[in-house]
């Protein structure tokens, strides 16, 4: 398992937002976490990425106990994330967005002098990554000038530049047009297949999740109510019930 949580728990006031969650995520797979609003998906994400500290339980990533680690340390051991609201550096060029992450990965972000060779190598790698997300040719544009779908792709590309073993994606399809959704979905699959990256997705678009995922965890009221491949989830009675009152059809 590349990512494993043990009895992860977090309360807000008297409410248990996440309750004894045991998540086991296999490498090189697309693993989705779904559930109705208020199921605790976002809290779970924040617990894993150290934005909030758990009341109990722990998080193991790649054999290391990373419970409560700050974001910058997680990035150093190759755990990346993308954000629900697209999060890129608007005023910097597309290329620079990627180069920042590459330099950070290489531990040279505080240097004030790079050899021409190093700079070229970084640029070459950045172009290569941009090619993977189909942003080649937009290197010099400001990130803020990109269309919404392309910004999301850039967001993912920044994560890729960290050479991650795992990327957590917080609603990568939210607020996208139908065409953009397809593009991003294709991109996600391609990352798994060509780079062997593990991808954990929190997503509302259940239909897309069913198509994309290798495995799905369903949460409700802070508990995990099902954890299985898509085909089994489809037939799971508890999941049906959980979604009965929601607006989703499976």
């Amino acid at each position: 398992m590349i990512l494993e949580t043990t009895d992860l728990t977090k309360h807000f006031g008297g409410l248990k937002a996440v309750n004894g969650v045991n998540l086991r995520i296999a490498p090189a797979a697309i693993h989705s976490i779904i559930g109705p609003n208020g199921a605790g998906k976002t809290t779970l994400f924040n617990l894993i990425t150290g934005a909030i500290k758990p009341a109990a339980g722990r998080v193991m990533f790649d054999g290391v106990d990373v419970t409560g680690w700050p974001a910058e340390r997680l990035a150093k051991i190759r755990l990346a994330r993308t954000f629900q609201r697209t999060s890129v550096f608007h005023d910097l060029s597309v290329l620079e967005n990627i180069a920042l992450a590459i330099r950070s990965r290489e531990g040279i972000s505080r240097s004030i002098w790079l050899t021409a060779g190093t700079e070229r190598a970084i640029e070459a790698e950045a172009c290569d990554i941009l090619g993977r997300v189909r942003l080649r040719g937009r290197e010099k544009d400001k990130a803020g000038a990109l269309a919404h779908g392309n910004q999301r792709a850039l967001d993912i590309a920044i994560g890729l530049a960290l050479k991650p073993k795992l990327i957590l994606m917080d609603e990568p399809l939210a607020g996208m047009s139908r065409g953009d959704r397809e593009t991003i979905a294709t991109l996600i699959t391609a990352l798994r297949d060509s780079l062997g990256v593990t991808i954990v997705v929190v997503e509302h678009d259940v239909a897309m999740v069913m198509r994309l995922s290798d495995r799905i965890t369903v949460m409700q009221h802070g508990y995990v109510i099902a954890d299985a491949p898509p085909a089994e989830i489809r037939d799971n009675e508890a999941v049906r019930k959980a979604y009965l009152h929601g607006s989703f059809a499976i």
Partner: protein, 333 residues
């Protein structure tokens, strides 16, 4: 040739033009002592403007890179002035020793203060910088046996360099101007370096910067230290140039002025605050010779700028310039 430039907007042409303009401006600045021989007073004013420009640049290295807003930047300027002045009286008048000493001690103190400060959110940071300024201001009076208290630090000896005394106003001007040019070159270099880019990333999106593995606190601390050290260096130079230091250097009015230079010139533009400082210093001199109520005009102008042109006057002008240039390019294409 000029037609070619106008009709063929090659990439790099703009840059070359900007480079030439900067070179011309730099040469003009360097020539000041040559045409002010009969106006010693103008040369002194110009020297003061250069010092102000260095301080403005130092604040922009903080505000313009990591986005931290300091309301007590005069604290570091004044700290440098007093430290250098006192060391000059007690230790040596050799600038080769004095200025590095000032910078090193500033690095130490700003690292300690900055360690706590940079971990605060924007508003708390702003409040604490103002408070820190007032604390150092108060320190001048606590240590009045050394600092001279209300009367200021008097009798700073004439500094020497390699055995020669630095006396001539023209030499002073070139010394200060040289420091400004070196600091500017350094600032531009850093802006393009990984460090400068990482700073900009923090200013723009701290959360994202953290998740690409940037150590935000450390990077902010670095910019705070660089900024404080350059301000202290400017203060040290000023104390030696002026031969005295007054507690007014640490006053919050002074911090306000520095902030004004940067806001007026456009935060984060590096060159804007430098020009802002020069224009402002000269204006202040002439306005305050006409009227006593300089602070009223200053405060009023400050309020007006924030409301009307938050990007700074030079920011507004350069925006306009870029738009005109873009329109022309659009028409010729």
């Amino acid at each position: 040739m000029s037609d070619e430039i106008a009709t063929m907007p090659m990439p790099g042409t703009d840059r070359r033009f900007t480079g030439l303009a900067l070179l011309a401006a730099a040469a003009l600045g360097a020539s000041v002592p040559l045409w002010t021989e009969n106006m010693p007073f103008v040369l002194i004013l110009a020297s003061q403007a250069v010092v102000a420009a260095i301080v403005a640049l130092s604040l922009d290295l903080l505000m313009g890179s990591t986005g931290l807003l300091s309301f007590g930047h005069a604290a570091w300027y004044g700290f440098g002035a007093y430290l250098t002045g006192i060391a000059a009286k007690m230790l040596t008048a050799d600038v080769v020793v004095l200025l590095p000493l000032t910078v090193v001690l500033t690095i130490v103190l700003s690292a300690i203060v900055g360690f706590v400060l940079v971990r605060q959110i924007g508003k708390t940071f702003a409040i604490l910088t103002l408070a820190f300024g007032q604390i150092l201001f108060a320190l001048v009076f606590v240590l009045s046996s050394i600092t001279g208290g209300e009367d200021g630090l008097q009798g700073i000896p004439i500094p020497t360099a390699f055995g020669f005394q630095i006396v001539k106003p023209a030499v002073w001007y070139w010394l200060l101007y040289g420091v400004l040019l070196v600091a500017l070159a350094g600032a531009f270099h850093i802006r393009r370096s990984p460090l400068g880019k990482a700073w900009l990333a923090i200013r723009e999106n701290t959360e994202r910067a953290r998740f690409i593995g940037l150590n935000v606190s450390l990077l902010k601390l670095l910019s705070y230290i660089v900024s404080a050290s350059l301000a202290a260096l400017a203060g040290g130079l000023f104390a030696l140039f002026n031969g005295a230091a007054s507690p007014d250097l640490l006053n919050w009015f002074e911090s306000g002025k520095v902030l004004m230079y940067v806001v007026l010139g456009g935060v984060g533009t590096i060159i804007g605050p430098v020009i802002g400082a020069a224009v402002f210093t000269v204006t202040e001199h002439y306005v305050s010779s006409i009227t006593d109520s300089w602070l009223i005009y200053f405060g009023g102008f400050f309020v007006l700028i924030v409301i009307v042109a938050p990007g700074g006057l030079f920011g507004a002008v350069s925006n306009l310039w870029q738009r005109i240039a873009a329109a022309r390019r659009g028409m010729s294409a």
